[in-house]
Amino acid sequence: MAGSWERLDGRQTYDYRNIRISFGADYGCCVVELGKTRVLGQVSCELVSPKLSRATEGILFFNLELSQMAAPAFEPGRQSDLLVKLNRLLERCLRNSKCIDTESLCVVAGEKVWQIRVDLHLLNHDGNIIDAASIAAIVALCHFRRPDVSVQGDEITLYALEERDPVPLSIHHMPICISFAFFQQGTYLLVDPSEREERVMDGLLVIAMNKHREICTIQSSGGIMLLQDQVLRCSKIAGVKVAEITELIQKALENDRRVRKEGGKFGFAESIANQRITAFKMEKAPVDTSDVEEKAEEIIAEADPPSEAVSKPVLWTPGTAQIGEGIESSWGDLEEEEEGDDGGSDEVTILDSVKMETEDQNVGNHMGDDTPIVLSDSEEDEIIILEPGENPKKTRVQANSQQGKVSSKKAIRKKKKQPAD
C-alpha cells in the first residue's frame, strides 16, 4: 500500500469500533460486542474455604475460552498459545490491580469465603479479543449480585434471592485493556486492530488502565522496539479511550438498573429485535469516498438490514413498540439541542405509545414533536464529533440509531464549514 494509508473499514488511527453492551436476565451475564468481536461474560459465586495463605480474602477465578465458533482456526486443543496469553493478561489486569475488594468477600475468616468465578466465552473473533474480554469481565462483575449473608455468632445465614435482595460486589475501579497494534517496526500505530490487521501487525502493546489514569497492566509483545515517547503517547491515548469506555459502561449499567427497578423487560431477548434472522448486522462502515459530504451521508444510508433496526424496535402489538431495553434516554434534555430533521413521524408515534408506559421526565410534548427521541438501548450513545484535522484522539464510541443519524448530519454541517474556512 504505497502512498495513502487507510484502514479496511474506514476507521481512523485512533478509532474504536462500535461497542455494544447488552445484559442477560441473570445478574452477572452480559455480552459485549466490539465491532463483530463478541464476548459473553458470566459471573457466578460460591461459598468455599479460603486459601490457607489468605484466610480473610475471597477467591477470584477468571477463565477465558475461545469457542470453536469464534474462528475456523480455533479447534479444541489447538489454540493453547493464544489462550494462555489472553488468560494471563486478563488475570494480571483484573486480579493484580485489586479492582475487586476481596476482603469484602470474606464471610467467616478462615472458614467461608466467596469464590467469584468469571467465565468469558469468545463467540466471534474479529480482532482485539483482549479489549472485548476485559470490558466483558468488568461489566459482568459490576452487574453481578451475590446473595446476602449475615453472620450471627456462629450462625451464617445465606439469604435466598427471594428473601433479601442480592448485594453487588465491591469494586474499586474498572481496569480496561486498550490494544495498540504496531506496524513496520513501530512506525505506524493502530488502535483496536481488527482481525486482518492483527495478522499483519508486527507487535502489540496492551495497556490496562482505569479512568483515574492509573496503569494496571502494560504488556508489549511481538518483540518490537518502542521508543519511550511512543509508549507515553500510547498511554495518553489509552487514558482518553478508557474514560470514554468507562462512561459507556456506567451508562449501560445504569440503564439496566433502571429497567429492572421499573419492572420493565430486560435480558437478551429484549435486545434482539423480533422477526429478524440476523446473526450479524452490518455496522455502518464509514466508507471513505472522495467527497467528504458523501462520506457522512453514506454513513446514514448504509444501514442495517431494516433501516429502522438501527434503533432496533421491538413490536409488541400493533402500535406499541419498544426500542432497546424499554427505557428512555436520560439525555432527553441534551438531545433537544441535537436537533435532527430526520426524526421520522412514524417513529415518533411509536415512541409515544411507549412513553405512556414508561415514566416520562424529560420529553414533554408528545404528538407533533419531531425532535428525535431515542429510546437508547442498554448502552447510552455517546457521539463525539470527529473534527477533521483536530484532535485525533476523540472517537466515535457508539453510532447508533437516531443519534447516529443526527450526529452524522451534524458532522455534515461541521465538515461543510471546514472547506469554507
Binding site: 479496511l8 452490518m282 466508507v287 458523501e294 451521508e297 448504509e302
Partner: protein, 259 residues
C-alpha cells in the same frame, strides 16, 4: 444456481424432511396433490430429475440435508424433469467439483502447490495445470499468491485437487491473480446471488468505477480499482450488499456515482 426459471415457491424445508413433490401425472395420483418422489420405480414416464445442493438421495427417496428454501428449475429443452435444490446460506465452504474458487498458495513442495480454499483441507495444484506450462516452462507462482481455479476432484474422502485450465487446455481466465487489489470474504449465498445472470448489483458496480473483480465460489471476492480508496469502497459495498435492501443499495450507488 440461477433464480431465473424458478417456480415461485417459498417452501421452507428442514434437514431430515423427505421430499414431497407435486406429481403431475402418475398411476397413484388419485387427486392427491403431492406424492413422495420415488426414483427409479414407477416413474418411467417421468423424466430424470436432478437434485442439487441440499438434497440427497437415500435409497429411493429424496432427503433434505440443509435448511432453506426449496427451489426448482424447469427443464430447459427436451428431457429432464428439472432441477431441485435447497437455497441455503452459510459461510463455511465445502469443496465441490467444478466450482471456480479463489485460493491462496500456502506451500510449494516439489511440483505441487498447496492452496488454501477455505475448506477443511488445502487443495493441491500441480504446476503443470496452467496454460502453457511444461516441465521446462514452470509457472511463476509464489507462496502467498492468489489463484483462481476450479476443482477437478472434490469429495469428502480425499483432499481436493484443483487446476487452472479447462478441459481444452486453455486458461479461460484462471491462473494467478495479479498484484494489488483486495481479497475479502462474504457468505456463499451472496456469491451465488452476485453470479446469477442479470445481477443488478454487478451491473451497477460496473457503472461506478472501472474495476477488476473475481468471484470465488468459496466466498472470496477479489477486487481491484484504480485507487485504494475506490477499492475499499467497493469491498465495503459488496460486503454490505448482504444486508441491504434494494432501495438502500440504489441509494448508495446513486450517491457514489455522484461523487
Amino acid at each position: 444456481w440461477a433464480e431465473a426459471g424458478q417456480r415461485g415457491g417459498a417452501r421452507v424445508v428442514l434437514p431430515g424432511e423427505e421430499l414431497l413433490l407435486p406429481e403431475s401425472a402418475g398411476p397413484n395420483a388419485e387427486g392427491s396433490a403431492e406424492q413422495m418422489l420415488r426414483l427409479g420405480s414407477i416413474v418411467r414416464p417421468r423424466a430424470r430429475v436432478v437434485c442439487g445442493p441440499g438434497l440427497r438421495r437415500c435409497g429411493d427417496r429424496l432427503l433434505v440435508t440443509k435448511c432453506g428454501r426449496l427451489r426448482h428449475k424447469e427443464p430447459g429443452g427436451g428431457g429432464g424433469g428439472g432441477v431441485y435444490w435447497v437455497d441455503s446460506q452459510q459461510k463455511r465452504y465445502v469443496p465441490v467439483k467444478g466450482d471456480h474458487v479463489i485460493g491462496i498458495v500456502t506451500a510449494k513442495s516439489g511440483d505441487l502447490f498447496k492452496v488454501d480454499v477455505g475448506g477443511s483441507e488445502p487443495a493441491s495444484l500441480s504446476y503443470l495445470a496452467f496454460e502453457g506450462a511444461t516441465k521446462r516452462n514452470r509457472p511463476n507462482v509464489q507462496v502467498g499468491d492468489l489463484i483462481y481455479g476450479q476443482f477437478v476432484v472434490a469429495n469428502k474422502d480425499m483432499e481436493p485437487e484443483m487446476v487452472c485450465i479447462d478441459s481444452n487446455g486453455r486458461a479461460n481466465g484462471m491462473g494467478v491473480i495479479g498484484q494489488d487489489g483486495l481479497l475479502f470474504k462474504v457468505t456463499l449465498g451472496l456469491i451465488r446471488k452476485l453470479l446469477a445472470p442479470e445481477c443488478e448489483i454487478i451491473q451497477e458496480i460496473g457503472k461506478l468505477y472501472p474495476l477488476e473483480i473475481v468471484f470465488g465460489m468459496n466466498g472470496r471476492i477479489w477486487v481491484k480499482a484504480r485507487t485504494i480508496q475506490q477499492t475499499l469502497i467497493l469491498a465495503n459495498v459488496l460486503e454490505a450488499c448482504e444486508h441491504m435492501t434494494t432501495e438502500q443499495r440504489k441509494q448508495i450507488f446513486s450517491r457514489l456515482s455522484e461523487s
